[in-house]
Symmetry: C4
Amino acid sequence: MEDITIRFLDDFSKDEVDSPILIEGLPGIGHVGKLVAEHIIHELGAKKVAEIHSIYFPPQVIIEENSVIRLANNEIYFYRDDILQALFLVGDFQSTSNEGHYLLADQYLKIAEEFGVNRIYTLGGFGVGHLVEEPRVLAAVNRVDLKEQAEEAGATFDNGEPTGGIIGAAGLLLGLSAYHDIEGICLMGETSGYLVDPKSATSLLKVLSNLIGISIDATTLAERGVEMERMVQKLIEGEQAMRDEELRYIG
Amino acid sequence: MEDITIRFLDDFSKDEVDSPILIEGLPGIGHVGKLVAEHIIHELGAKKVAEIHSIYFPPQVIIEENSVIRLANNEIYFYRDDILQALFLVGDFQSTSNEGHYLLADQYLKIAEEFGVNRIYTLGGFGVGHLVEEPRVLAAVNRVDLKEQAEEAGATFDNGEPTGGIIGAAGLLLGLSAYHDIEGICLMGETSGYLVDPKSATSLLKVLSNLIGISIDATTLAERGVEMERMVQKLIEGEQAMRDEELRYIG
Amino acid sequence: MEDITIRFLDDFSKDEVDSPILIEGLPGIGHVGKLVAEHIIHELGAKKVAEIHSIYFPPQVIIEENSVIRLANNEIYFYRDDILQALFLVGDFQSTSNEGHYLLADQYLKIAEEFGVNRIYTLGGFGVGHLVEEPRVLAAVNRVDLKEQAEEAGATFDNGEPTGGIIGAAGLLLGLSAYHDIEGICLMGETSGYLVDPKSATSLLKVLSNLIGISIDATTLAERGVEMERMVQKLIEGEQAMRDEELRYIG
Amino acid sequence: MEDITIRFLDDFSKDEVDSPILIEGLPGIGHVGKLVAEHIIHELGAKKVAEIHSIYFPPQVIIEENSVIRLANNEIYFYRDDILQALFLVGDFQSTSNEGHYLLADQYLKIAEEFGVNRIYTLGGFGVGHLVEEPRVLAAVNRVDLKEQAEEAGATFDNGEPTGGIIGAAGLLLGLSAYHDIEGICLMGETSGYLVDPKSATSLLKVLSNLIGISIDATTLAERGVEMERMVQKLIEGEQAMRDEELRYIG
């Protein structure tokens, strides 16, 4: 067993792919990046072309709804039409070890190079510790001349925020790709950091759509956002009710 | 020293083995899998054919009752009669590291392939956080067409439960074997998760017996279950007595 | 840099060594093993013959009293007279990782084999959680026929105690040596587990002296034991005094 | 991807370097070593000659003020004039794992050997747990004959302090260099251990300047020290005010 195994599916021909962009949306803060990448895959009908297994993922299988298991993995999807050609990197987990983060990112970049990727978008969340009414989309780049495009698309640059840097695949892919002459833009949706956040994902999707020049229907994502807000509202009301209840007991 | 060392015992001839099933019962939740596998080994008189040592096990020796030590290990047993031919994977520990889980599972599958195994049963517990009166046996499979057999044998499929997936050898063996054309069924006895649970093991044994087509006397396992229940009952009564005592002090 | 580096000192000729015993006394519970091994080295005037460095030790240097630093290490000493020929394995630390424990023990056994060692004594403490008036010396062996000798020398065998097994070098050296036809006896001095315990070490030294057939002056070790007891006594009295003081405040 | 990658910058010619000293100032207690090394680099205008990336660093990118990211790294700077020729080792992080500490230190020493370094200064803090009015500079050496120089330069040797040894790069570089015939002096500025400490760095800088025979303007470092003290003073006053406030509520 290799430490990292990449299996391309049999019905995939690498010849279909010619210098696509790469969009990474692995699990992370608020699952913002994951929500966006999986939403685009779903809306465009991108097809799965590879599965990635690794000893750096948790030693775990996922049970699908039909009770059939599958190894925890990361997956690559591909989409191509006249306007857009894109690879998507999504999956169940990121690495469980520091070293694994680097080694996985390095493999992902090898794939990117093999297909002639010259731009990577990495997507994530930017945790601010409180609910955000109108989530901004922060950006960071691996070359200064990319800032203008990102700003025009609606992203914000905020004096080196997040000051703690960017951890995991979204950061490393950008950092390492600079040494392979691949441009990289990281988009981070503002989010509380406590909940899966489709609202923040909707904001991020808008900026990314502008950048990649296609329009993606955000309806289902927005709906999940509204639903989530309703749920949060109920949680808050429930807590308030509990507190009132307690006051009644005391008073 | 290899990272994983497999020593086949001298009196074992690999030629005896021809496409057996493999039953895994390593330590885990409620030790349900371990209890079942070791019970079958004992009842059938399966013989030990290999010892597995690894730097991924705890750095520890076990002291046997005669004060002779032995390295912490996993072991393989073999049984063959006219009806059943089976390898058993049992042992003291699972891996102490995430990576080790994968590397050990990979080695176990290499052994399985060497002997022509085409079906694996992995056994475990499914922790529910409370005592269970009539423990169900949940199942998961690595190919959808295995569900019918498992259900007929008395296993339950419950909408992708456990939602947290299956961790460790029981999960990985199933997940990895799918890439080696080996069928896999995981059986998980419902259990509180707090105690070694022979009662859950008895339920699991019944389902497994149906699947492998032999009848195993469950008496000693059932007796240990009854004994364990008596012990739990005493613990509960003891706690109740303590609480009553406290009330007397207060009241 | 090798993961484990063994440097034999220039003034040491391997030809001096011919089938010695190996005595291991690395840091552990109550530092009992370390105290005994270093005491014997000191009393006999054994000389240092090798230094062992490893990435599995803490990334740390020790500052000697003259403010000169040295890498954390393990060391091998050698002693030979007409009655006894022995290698000693002592040092600052054991491995910081599970895997490192195995890999270090494996290297130690390679050295043992190189010198024709056919018996290993591993020394340690057996923590019982309370102060012990007359510490017993528990033993475990890697071959059942070694028990008689150990008992005659004053060691106790107690139904597979310690039930938790033996962790680290003292255990692994015994467990692994069984596969190299090397006899192994582990001696464990009973100790509270809270303090460095020269008293327990004195008991252990007596048993080991009987086993290796030489008499080692235990005076300095016994004195440190008496001193330690006095210190503990003061601690207890101090605590008692504090409690009395508190009662006075309350009362 | 190598586990450790060293990239020398294109405009750097190794021929410029001929037996320099090496000054290490990586992050550590009070960031004393880092402050000193980076201050000297800045004052002298030393130029960056290499970047070091490693899977042993945190899997993280740093966001610069212009929102351009860069991989977490260590860096080597070089300075040469008529009096001084020096390499500087500075950076964002030390290793995240014990093993990585050794492997990184080993690589740093390979670089040192390549350039003919025969003396290393490692800089750090010595945490004492309370604010220090006049921070001493403790020293440790890897050869006893280096003590006199260090003392003459103003360093203090204090009976094997710090008794806990020296952890990380500052310790390992000294310990490992002894095996490469490289002299090593570790200077540790006394510091509380709770705060970045430019005052302690100023003391250390003075001793180091004496040792390397050049005068470095300490003004900006001293100013940061004064500023930090003012900040600490405010924190203390704020806390005092809060306590007074509380007393008012109670009283």
